[in-house]
Symmetry: D2
Subunit: 344 residues, 4 copies
């Protein structure tokens, strides 16, 4: 069977999680997230963000987290601002609109948002009450293009949002990868300080399912749990989510896993760079987008699965490679070997 670099959710979960599921399996616990593992997981998260006034809610997946957070925050006439590659814009079957809210799209080269990107959108929505009111800025870190926010960038965005009475919400499906990127100077603590809401993605970083929504802004905490239940996200056996995040938050497991994924991607990136390969974008996380000849792509695809992302010209295309917490050296080395053999 071919090794797959298609995504970071091809495998099951980290063995510690399975071990814990086994260990606690027959203990009777309260339902709906009131089990002791969930409570422990929430405490560990609050310690890691160094803010015990934040509130934590564990849900199953990213689309669910996005639609719950956004519909909980916005009034009917308010809308979201997102960079064009934003997951909520393209890959969630209109989940946000289904809760009644428009998502405005901003074209950006790197999938990130800066205040200067947002200003014209605000200016273009001043015809009260004939237009939706922009109220929430949605960003991803790492982004859907593998890029990341640095501390200064997030600070500027955060200040801008406060000045303009906009909420700032970070989709952290790959937050572990963003924060452990070798070039990142951003910390989890700072993310919690600078955003109104964000989430820590488990699904793409070693869990079976699970995203931990962290609501920092006290105004947004009120009655938040109702939204979780109403959207069908409150698991009767909340223990399943609790145990996973309890394990991921122990020691530094969550970040170790993400770092490993990043490092495996960087090994491939470095091998490609040594051979002079170009990239669609300059990333330092677990997603890379090398531009290769169609011949080489064909050779590689005999041994590996991955997406051909974009045709560049007649002879060259960009491919997308994603590594995960479980991508082993063997697969990486085999891939590099082919690169080194086949690239001139």
């Amino acid at each position: 069977m071919k090794f797959s670099f298609k995504n970071d959710y091809s495998e099951g979960c980290h063995p510690n999680i399975l071990q814990a599921l086994l260990q606690y399996n027959l203990d009777q616990q309260a339902g709906y997230g009131e089990d002791e593992y969930s409570l422990k997981a929430k405490t560990l998260i609050k310690e890691k963000i160094n803010n015990h006034n934040s509130e934590v809610f564990l849900v199953s997946g990213g689309t669910q987290a996005n639609l719950i957070v956004i519909s909980a925050i916005l009034k009917p006439y308010q809308c979201v601002i997102s960079a064009a590659p934003g997951h909520i814009l393209n890959n969630e079957t209109g989940a946000i609109e289904a809760t009644g809210h428009k998502v405005l799209s901003i074209d950006t080269a790197d999938g990130k948002l800066k205040p200067s990107d947002i200003i014209p959108v605000l200016e273009g929505h001043s015809n009260v009450p004939h237009q939706v009111m922009p109220k929430l800025v949605y960003i991803s870190n790492s982004t859907e293009l593998g890029t990341i926010y640095q501390a200064k960038e997030l600070e500027e965005l955060s200040v801008f949002c406060k000045q303009n009475k906009l909420y700032l919400f970070m989709d952290g499906a790959r937050l572990g990868h963003g924060l452990t990127s070798e070039i990142s100077d951003l910390t989890l603590e700072k993310v919690a300080l600078l955003t109104d809401v964000f989430y820590l993605g488990g699904t793409k970083n070693g869990a079976l399912i699970g995203e931990a929504i962290i609501v920092n802004n006290p105004v947004l905490q009120e009655d938040f749990a109702f939204n979780i239940k109403q959207k069908g996200a409150l698991l009767a056996k909340g223990r399943l989510l609790g145990i996973q995040f309890m394990e991921l938050m122990k020691d530094n497991l969550y970040f170790d896993l993400a770092k490993h994924a990043n490092q495996q991607a960087m090994k491939i990136k470095n091998a490609l760079q040594k051979k002079g390969a170009a990239f669609l974008s300059d990333t330092y996380t677990n997603q890379i987008f090398p531009i290769l000849s169609n011949d080489l792509i064909e050779t590689l695809s005999e041994k590996f699965e991955f997406y051909v992302w974009k045709k560049v010209d007649e002879n060259f295309s960009a491919i997308r490679l994603i590594t995960s917490w479980n991508t082993g050296d063997e697969a990486v080395n085999r891939f590099i070997e082919i690169i080194e053999t086949e690239l001139p």
Copy 2:
């Protein structure tokens, strides 16, 4: 620690499931329910219902299943009919209304719906276009009161719905318990034949999470998957749901687990009946509602957890006891012992 008869989701999952999660953990699989375990689970379900034209969708929980099915089926001006104790009416934070649809409530003594209950509702909604149009009948089996539908009852309801152009949807959060009740003459195959949509509940019958939605009516199958994704219910690691239902559907595990839960409840019921205890309703599934003296309830609550359901008079109240796939003989026997000692 006290043993809990509060609900059927206090424990983790059946060991076979954990075993399978371990066994397949590191196999790379396609995401979003295209993994081989999900495909296998769906095949097994179709075999059990003896209908390969039905379509199966695996989701995380009951509220999620309910809101997806109902919002997928109804047009904006159509509504649901439910018996008053229906889970969607009382325990799902308005999840159905949040998708835009009214739920009409019908008072019934036993939590079940008969054609004669529905006729007056249809007659009372004939002022076109000033009233919502009833279009979907929602029933639970076993019901929220522990009662069940017999084959003849479901047949009559099914015929009535077809005659009146109503869809029939069965909430099967406890369908295993309903079908393995010692008095039930209904089969899974018949349920699939008589309903437009139903689901097989995993969460309350040995899984960690998971309900299998089965769409029998071909008209309702079209594009159904979009609804799953839009409501945030399409797990990236669909394998988690697939493995669970694959294991539950193997041999007769799903039904064995439900039968066990029922039997444990019946043991307690019989012990109580021998002592002449009365019951709020006459149930043959894993929920029983004995009426006991407040003194006895206090004594029992020192050793067991359960809900006091309803005050009957000054001295007596009904309690609710729920058993599960994992309720052992020890807890049951200890409970019976107290009954036998304390009841005259």
Copy 3:
């Protein structure tokens, strides 16, 4: 042609309105409610309620007013409490649910709500976060059964709502009739003082279309206009609404019209009472519900249109008679004549 007592919207509008429409027809005015007639109308309304801090919004009809107000106020998980005959429950095709909100129904004999009716609903919705949160109390004055709120009743309800953090919203489709009832001790000023939002109905009291929503609670005023536009209720030629309310609010026209309608109904009521007729409910507004023999009903229906409301026994039924601002003496006298001739 038969004279119709079927409803209070059978005729066009009061001649003063048509006169003003003619007079101002060709003046160019700003659109979307910024015309001078709308501004004048709003000022007149604020004077009549003696509160210049309230905000006034003119919309086309009652269902529109109800769905805008309720969806503007409530968060997704919050719901409405209404008496069972409430217009939003039975006669608006699920308009409120279509905006995502459940409406809880309370059975009451007279179509009115008292604190003691609401308390059990609040108590029955305490299972956080598994149930919707009651947040808005919807009442009508006069009610759908023709009954009215007295000052003391509304005060008690208002205090209760404040104590329980509930908003109080009065559907005033027939508020003119309620306030000018011969037994009413409630004033428009008091209504504005005691409710968070209410509206003054024009459609059923002399206008062609139009309800004036009055938002008294400053918290609810913020950005309210966006909701009007989003729900399709902001007329480009807002002047149509403005001119109508400007005319209705001049002198005492609005209340004179309602009083006339009430008086015509009372004439018929008195004639019936003199003859010993019984009534389904004891009303003092423009709706009466006399119980008559089927023979007499048949005789009356040869000359008049009205609804047979409810079968009382084999030989008797209640009918509903509604009078309007334009119900003349001739029709009333002819009706009374038959009564006096035919009733023993």
Copy 4:
């Protein structure tokens, strides 16, 4: 007072309408659009489109018409395709999204859609079920930029939509102006033949309020009236809409009014063209967008009201002038006089 060229809804309505409102004012009629004027208006419209199988629904305004039609047609996961200047995208406060549906925007120079514009959108939405499903094409005629569809263009679009199982919906807020443009070869009959749904705008063409929705596709007619009521658009005194459309459809009034508006705009256009003025777009309806020097704009704005639409360079800007059914020769001539005096 300055004459306003700001929009086509500054004045009241055509005198015939007021005359009819007066004439029929005190006739008692059935409510909710069952009055004889509404029935007559619908018959006249069906005659004009030469299709008695179409169904006609009268509502108050354009945003209301758009949100009702779109939410009635689409399933929850389906979306709309619109040209970027589409009214539903920019000027309706997210009314469509508030009913749960995304609107995809296509950049086009002239505000019109061609099959070749739509193909890439369909291709870009093929990742089932992770993306919304495009299902309805929304066009305006005349467009928000004053341009129009010719018969051949609409035919090609209609064929394309049928081939791709897309519904075609024409916003006809200014359909009269589109069809009576001096260059238009499209007829009302053909519009009805080529679209699934369209509407005839009254508000911007001589009515006080009112748009006539015409549902041509029989599949979409089923139960359509429920949507009208649910969205708060069913007027109790439907006669107000009926009388207006009855008058507008008599003889050729509707089209005469639109033609007049177009002609007045063309007079100004011609005067400007003679003087060599450039235009932002080449329009033949009642909207023109001349590019003038800032000095001339200032001079004109002392006598007239209009919008400055777009800055072109340091010294020049485009303005928007809109004429209406009631724009008289005097205003037009005064405007032209200034042009002829001030332009070299």
